[in-house]
Symmetry: C2
Subunit: 189 residues, 2 copies
C-alpha cells in the first residue's frame, strides 16, 4: 500500500476497471461493485461514478459525503461479483459474510478493501441534479494508494507474476476481462 | 454490422473500453479517442462521455447536438491511439490522413468507423453545467450495431479467432489492455 501521487490517480481507473465503492456513516460500513465509473479531471483528480439511488451505498454516501473507490484484483473476482449482486439490506456486513478484510482510510475513514490493486478516498462534490437524474456522483480524490507489485511510479505493470492483481473489466454475468494481453498502439504519420 | 437491441446497448461499453467519438456538423466530420466514458442508464440507454471543451469535437457536437460512439477493435489500435493525440485543427480530415473508412449513420449521419466492434448513434441531452464544470456530456443512444463475429445476441465473445475485434482499454501512452484473458466470478454463499 504505497501512496500514489494525486496527478496519477486517474490512471488507476483510466482503462475502465470495475471498482468497489465503499462507504461508512457512523459505524455502518458497506461495499458494492460498480462497473460504471470514469475519471473526469486529471488534477484535482475527479471521478464520476454511478450509484443507484435505491442502494444502501447511496444512502450512506449521501449521509456522510465521502466514499472509497477500490480497484479489485483478479484474486478477489468472486468477492467483487458477489458484492455487486447483494444488498446491505440483506447482508448487513458483507465484509464479514464474504470473508474479506479492510482498513479504514486515514483521513475519511472509508474502507480500503484487502486484495485490491489500488485505493482512493474521495469526497463527494454535491451535484443534486446529476445524482437525481443520472445516479451520477462526482467525487474528488483526496488520497490514493496502490499495490506496488502492479502499479508504481504512476504506471500499471500487468505481468504473468502478478495476475492476482490484474484489474477486472465486467463483460456481464460475472465474466470479467483482464488486461493480461496488451497491444502497443503506434503513432501514425 | 448487425443491429443491437437498445436494452443491450450499454453492454458495448460496460467493461470500460476506449471509444472513438465521432462528430459531424454540415460537411465537417471528425473522430477522436476517449478513454473516459461510461453508461449511466440501461433503458433508455444513456452514456456519459468526457469531451474536453477545447477540442474540435466539442465544437462540432455542441453545434449539431449529436455524436457517434464507436468501440474500436485491436486491429485499429494504431488509428485509435493516433486520433486521440491529434487535433482536427492540425489534421482536418483524420479519416483520410490516417487511412480509415467510415459510413454515415442512418438517422443522425455521424461517422461509424470501419474496423470497430460496436457502434452507437447518440443525441446529446443538454446539460450545460456538467459540460462546463466537468467536460461531461450525457447522451442518449438511439441506435446501436455490432460486428456479430464478436458481439451477438447481447453478448461479447472474445476468442482467439477474433482478436482484431477485441476491445482496447487504455493503460497509458498508447498501451492498451485487451480482454483476451477472462475470469468467471462465482457467487459466494
Amino acid at each position: 500500500l504505497k501512496p500514489v501521487d494525486l496527478r496519477h490517480a486517474s490512471r488507476l481507473v483510466n482503462h475502465g476497471p470495475t471498482v468497489l465503492v465503499t462507504s461508512r456513516h457512523g459505524d455502518r460500513r458497506n461495499v458494492m461493485a460498480a462497473a460504471w465509473s470514469m475519471p473526469v479531471e486529471f488534477l484535482p483528480p475527479r471521478i464520476a461514478v454511478v450509484i443507484d439511488k435505491h442502494t444502501a451505498t447511496a444512502e450512506l454516501v449521501a449521509a456522510s459525503g465521502v466514499l472509497g473507490l477500490c480497484v479489485p484484483g483478479r484474486g478477489i473476482a468472486d468477492f467483487s461479483y458477489t458484492v455487486g449482486s447483494t444488498s446491505m439490506r440483506d447482508v448487513p456486513d458483507k465484509f464479514g459474510r464474504f470473508g474479506i478484510g479492510f482498513d479504514d482510510s486515514p483521513t475519511l475513514g472509508v474502507p480500503l478493501v484487502h486484495g485490491c490493486a489500488g485505493w482512493m478516498e474521495c469526497r463527494v462534490i454535491p451535484e443534486a441534479h446529476t445524482q437525481s437524474a443520472y445516479d451520477t456522483w462526482f467525487v474528488e480524490v483526496i488520497a490514493a494508494w496502490a499495490d506496488e507489485r502492479v502499479f508504481s511510479a504512476g504506471h500499471w505493470s500487468f505481468r504473468d507474476d502478478n495476475t492476482a492483481l490484474h484489474t477486472l473489466h465486467h463483460i456481464g454475468a460475472g465474466l470479467f476481462g483482464t488486461p493480461g494481453v496488451q497491444v502497443q498502439g503506434r503513432r501514425l504519420g
